[in-house]
């Protein structure tokens, strides 16, 4: 949403212009305009980039991606992540390489869903779902442990009892991450850096970005030949 468009929203909702005080036209971002509530107990469609509850991803062979490096904890502005690494058992490793995330906890009473952890993660182990409908009756329950965060055998987030999951909501576990990442060079839009996917599900580039990319006169060659 551009500055002017945003300013327009502000103006429109102002009392002098007959505004309604409530920012309905921006309740949830651009995608929300398209969304509609289908019934009493239906959820509004969420924007693709919505940052929800995290997951810890695994490789296709079941190995965990987290290596316990604590970069997510280091970058977290809310200091809500606690990670401790441990050495992999060479006979029965939890993750490829030397180390794995032994303890992984996120305190959702503190998390501001900024996704800096996702950007910091060198192995794309942590991504976010669109799950935002979860609540607790005990503060301790708000601290998700590794057992709850790690994805199930199919790579999808676990549907925890106190979360309100609907069918299809777990199709994508992260939105358009690379576009905002530090190395998100526009020349590499659509090309996922290390893995074929960020979390669960392959995603299309967003429409406007794809158009912008198509119109570029310079066509940059792939860095990663053989990648499809």
């Amino acid at each position: 949403m551009g500055y002017f468009e945003g300013f327009g929203v502000t103006m429109r909702q102002h009392r002098l212009f007959g505004g309604k005080r409530v920012t309905t036209s921006y309740s949830g971002g651009r995608q929300a305009k398209k969304g509609k509530i289908h019934g009493r107990d239906e959820k509004i469609d969420k924007p693709e980039r919505l940052h929800g509850r995290h997951v810890l991803n695994r490789y296709e062979d079941g190995m965990e991606k987290c290596i316990g490096c604590e970069l997510c904890a280091g970058v977290c502005p809310a200091k809500c992540i606690y990670v401790r690494g441990a050495d992999n058992d060479p006979e029965n490793p939890t993750s490829p390489g030397e180390r794995f995330g032994f303890v992984y906890e996120i305190n959702y009473l503190r998390c501001i869903h900024c996704d800096l952890c996702v950007e910091a993660c060198p192995t794309e182990a942590i991504t976010e779902t669109k799950m935002f409908e979860f609540s607790f009756t005990d503060r301790k329950d708000a601290i998700y442990t590794k057992a709850e965060l790690v994805v199930d055998d199919s790579g999808k987030p676990q549907r925890l009892a106190w979360e309100d999951w609907r069918d299809g909501e777990d199709e994508h576990t992260s939105g358009w991450m690379r576009a905002t990442s530090a190395s998100g060079d526009a020349h590499f839009i659509g090309e996922v850096g290390w893995s074929n996917e960020l979390g669960y599900g392959l995603r299309q580039p967003e429409a406007k970005q794809l158009e912008a990319d198509r119109s570029k006169s310079v066509r940059v060659l792939s860095r990663n030949e053989g990648h499809q």
């Binding site: 590499f188 659509g190 090309e191 995603r203 198509r214 066509r219 060659l221 792939s222 030949e225 499809q228």
Partner: protein, 215 residues
Amino acid sequence: MVAVSGHVQRPGVYEIVNGTTTFRDLIYGQEFCGGIRNGNQLKAFVPGGGSAPWFVPDQLDLPFEGRLVGAAGSMLGSGAVMVMDHTTDIPAAALTLTRFYAHESCGKCVPCREGGTWLERILSRVVDGKGTEADLDQLLEVGAMICPGAFPHASSEELGLEAVPFPYKMTTICFVGPSAYAPVHSALTLFRAEFEAKIVKRTMIPVTAMAGGEQ
């Protein structure tokens, strides 16, 4: 005294007159090497040991004189002349020399230790027919990390090349690092076509074609 090896009739150690004997005298003279073996054509020769940039027939009439050889883009070095006839596989010959210097590296300073090994690995890939066009430029770029700036090479009338005179700049402590690069640079500058013949031609795929949106 110079030691001549390679594709000549009579390889050996010869006493020459510094300043007057030319490379033509040495290679073709009957009192010296007696010409190229089997009546073949001279393709290239190394005037002063494996670490020296190469000469081509254009430089045959240069006398053994340090200053003149230096100005022509090489050096007299150890006085070991290596002669290559037209049957020589130039990339393979360059690889032999580079592999030698990469192996000889003492490992003390970084450009020689890492650069020499890297050059050897790229070059052997090219010689094995698994290289790409980008690898050829990569060879020169790795070389520039060992010897930044202009690197000396011989002139070539055929290619329209001007000679770049000695010396070169180097980032290493001693001359082993640049020596690993000298044969690569000479071979690539004077015989690039032979390298290109060895590389795999591939169609480069524009990146947008691989984006998910164009599936």
